[in-house]
Symmetry: C2
Subunit: 477 residues, 2 copies
């Protein structure tokens, strides 16, 4: 394991940015230990490096992929293959997503491919080895991951004599970015992609830097003006109390931190993260923003600002036990591979000035960002590389008569939707969104309590996918 991930408040702040794309981890997902037998686990002997031909490029690792034949119509009928592009999480945690319903509806084979350096798909044999230093981490990139998917899909199709079976890629968040990029770069391998909550425009100077936090703030304000005001006022109040004698100790008590606070910034970052997660995961039926605001607004009459926001944090996804607000709020183990990615390619320039959000001003500073990456990994980010490699500027013009069959779906309450594609690019590169949706909500396992607008979104997606398939079969025949 990389041993230099420091726990300073500054880094914790960055860590949240780094880890901020993750979703669905509070779910009751099947874990690797409890995979239903209909899911067959396989390994593919994957090339470590697809783009160079150095002797070490020829090294391989075992990449996990999972098949579920339950719904498949088979190769004889050229039935489709739905490929879930794993992202920055153990892929076995995503097996019951709504992609299962797509398979059931279209007699599809389910293929889940784990992303390199996540789950058990570890180059160099183990996470300890793979995460050892920047030389071993160095093969973790989105381009390598996309090429991995290409290799696995081609190989699985060949194994099953399923060359005529149309494949469709599905992914959410970072995986949604991969899904859209995969359709752009490998159109010969998938006939279309469903890219859920994919902020492919949150790079370089395409999207306003404050986009994410503006939406977090909007979510809270729409839920409760008084809640929003309380949070907005709380930062100065934290600063004020912190500056008093025993102020940090008082704050530690008010916020029931697991250990005494070292700085007011640690606390502010921690609470900010609570609000960000709530907005990002503001799913029905629990609606975490609503829960936080209910706790803030519903505190007994006479409760002061800090008492109210402390109640809000207790009502957050962090729960109401003691709060690890001293830099250990995120699991270092789960965060580090994604942190590597944000220190190389995945540079989301997030920041905001005074009075743009309910938070204290915090402009994006590429120099600080770079310095942290150098400190932690010994490498510098390439903040302009993603737009050079995958585009993004002027996307409507560029892809207007290029590309086809991509669905960009977004929920407008999801802060990441600030960097999403929210406007149709062409007849077949389309943007679907719901006003009330949150991050990747359409990919969650359907439940009987799903609201009508979510059912309508999924229905639109199904109709578009049905059209892609019909078009494909017309050409095939």
């Amino acid at each position: 394991m990389l041993t230099t991930i420091c726990a300073s408040a500054a880094h914790l702040r960055t860590t949240m940015r780094f880890g901020g794309m993750r979703w669905y981890e509070e779910s009751s997902m099947a874990s690797v230990n409890a995979i239903s037998p209909e899911f067959e686990v396989h390994n593919y002997t994957q090339s470590l490096d697809h783009f160079n031909f150095k002797p070490e490029s020829y090294a391989t690792f075992q990449q996990r992929y999972i098949l579920n034949y339950k719904y498949w119509g088979g190769a004889n009928t050229s039935s489709p293959i739905f490929v879930y592009l794993g992202a920055e999480i153990d892929v076995t945690q995503n097996l019951d997503l709504s992609i299962v319903d797509l398979a059931a509806r279209f007699k599809g084979l389910l293929l889940y491919v784990e992303h390199r350096y996540y789950g058990v798909s570890m180059p160099f044999g183990s996470e300890d080895e793979a995460f050892q230093n920047s030389s071993t981490f160095g093969y973790l990139s989105s381009e390598q991951a996309l090429a991995d998917y290409a290799q696995v899909i081609v190989d699985v199709k060949k194994d099953l004599s399923a060359e005529n079976c149309p494949a469709i890629a599905v992914g959410g968040s970072y995986g949604g970015m991969l899904a859209s990029w995969f359709r752009l770069k490998y159109p010969h391998i998938v006939i279309g992609s469903l890219a859920s909550s994919a902020p492919i425009l949150y790079f370089d100077d395409i999207t306003p830097q404050n986009g994410y936090h503006v939406i977090v703030s909007k979510d809270f304000r729409e839920t409760s003006e008084s809640c929003y005001n309380t949070i907005q006022q709380s930062w100065a109040e934290i600063d004020r109390v912190a500056s008093e004698t025993n102020g940090l100790l008082n704050l530690s008590n008010i916020f029931t931190t697991c250990s005494p606070l070292n700085s007011s910034k640690d606390l502010k970052v921690y609470t900010e993260i609570a609000y960000m997660w709530a907005a990002q995961l503001d799913n029905p039926p629990s609606y975490p923003v609503n829960k936080i605001c209910s706790a803030i607004d519903g505190a007994p009459s006479g409760t002061d600002i800090l008492g109210r926001v402390a109640a809000g944090v207790n009502a957050s996804v962090f729960g109401n036990s003691c709060h690890s607000a001293s830099g250990s709020g995120l699991s270092r183990k789960s965060a580090s591979a994604w942190e590597w990615q944000t220190c190389t390619e995945m540079v989301f320039p997030m920041g905001y000035g005074e009075n743009e959000t309910m938070f204290q001003s915090d402009p994006f500073d590429i120099n600080n960002y770079t310095k942290e990456c150098v400190d932690v990994f010994g490498i510098k980010p390439r903040p302009h590389w993603i737009t050079t490699e995958f585009g993004g500027h002027d996307i409507k013009t560029v892809l207007g008569n290029f590309a086809s069959n991509i669905i960009f779906s977004n929920g407008l309450r999801d802060p990441w939707s600030a960097g999403g594609v929210l406007e149709d690019i062409s007849d077949s590169v389309v943007a679907l969104y719901t006003e009330q949706g949150s991050h990747c909500l359409d990919l969650y396992p359907p439940t009987s309590s799903d609201p009508d607008w979510l059912l309508a979104l999924r229905d639109k997606e199904n109709k578009i996918i049905a059209y892609w398939l019909a078009e494909y079969y017309t050409k095939l025949n």
Copy 2:
């Protein structure tokens, strides 16, 4: 320098396959020493490795690019940029191609970018260092080269405040493959590509393996049935003479080899290459196939088969001095970087059985091919990688509603056209060909003796490019 490139006949044969894409080297091109002052030479500090983030991936090298502003309308008028994608040759040898006429016609800036590992664009500081071993050679790949082009184009546009200027990629042969792939992978950077004689389908099992040699044979047969028959009969005759006492010495004398032949195979490979080059470079007004056949058919009455084919070889592009038919026929220095590429990604499966061509049977054998690569470079080819990365199978269906603005131009007398795109894929991904054209003929500098059908081809290309530009400017305004 890599010191293990052996000179055996078997390897010479393979060398021809390896070096067989090259073109235009017999030209009277301006060399680096005599570049006209209108061509400005620049260097770009290029990333060695775009797709990994190991410490050594951050190394850089100086990549040469050349600008010519002579015709440019400037950034203020959003005038176009014509980008010549350098291929397996010093880019200064390609400065006067017909791309200059495109620039003149459309008020374009000319940008020539040299391919990494060719000319002076050498990683590790020099050719000696870059070609040292498979670790230093290992960063030579088409994917890295495409990313290089992306970086240079973005940087040049930024330098010139020319972000709104539409760029169009042009390339021939391997460079034509790169041009078409560049439009597919980087549509946000060029609005279209002219891919001349790009055999993007000569990979894997897409094109019949004998395609190249079938066309060579057709070219000779169409030129002269008796010439074709003489050549077809000559192989057995060479074998017969070689088996006699002093047979190799006799053959050495008949064919005026520079040194005594070690095997009849050396001679057969050498003459085969003479025919292949003649077909590939069968350009007006010299028409090398015609010259060879005139020599073969026009030998004094009573000249035997070997005397005739020896006269043919003397009339070939190899000239009539002594013939280096013992493995030194190709420049090792110029061939080795391209050989590396054919030993990694660029595996063209060329071979043929009995009576399919005017040559003796020589089926493609991936095991032998692989063994040679292991012997020379210590690495194994990845023969299926190109089609996984860039597609090719079922290209019409795949790109039918994906991609736009690519011209695939071919001459049907060019043996490489066997692997070219000869059928329109869509309204804007089009195939243009001439019955009488040779390899990359449309890219040669226009001359007053160009035949009408060549003028007509270039005219079609100009009209299509004019349409791309008009479409772009409509969207821009």
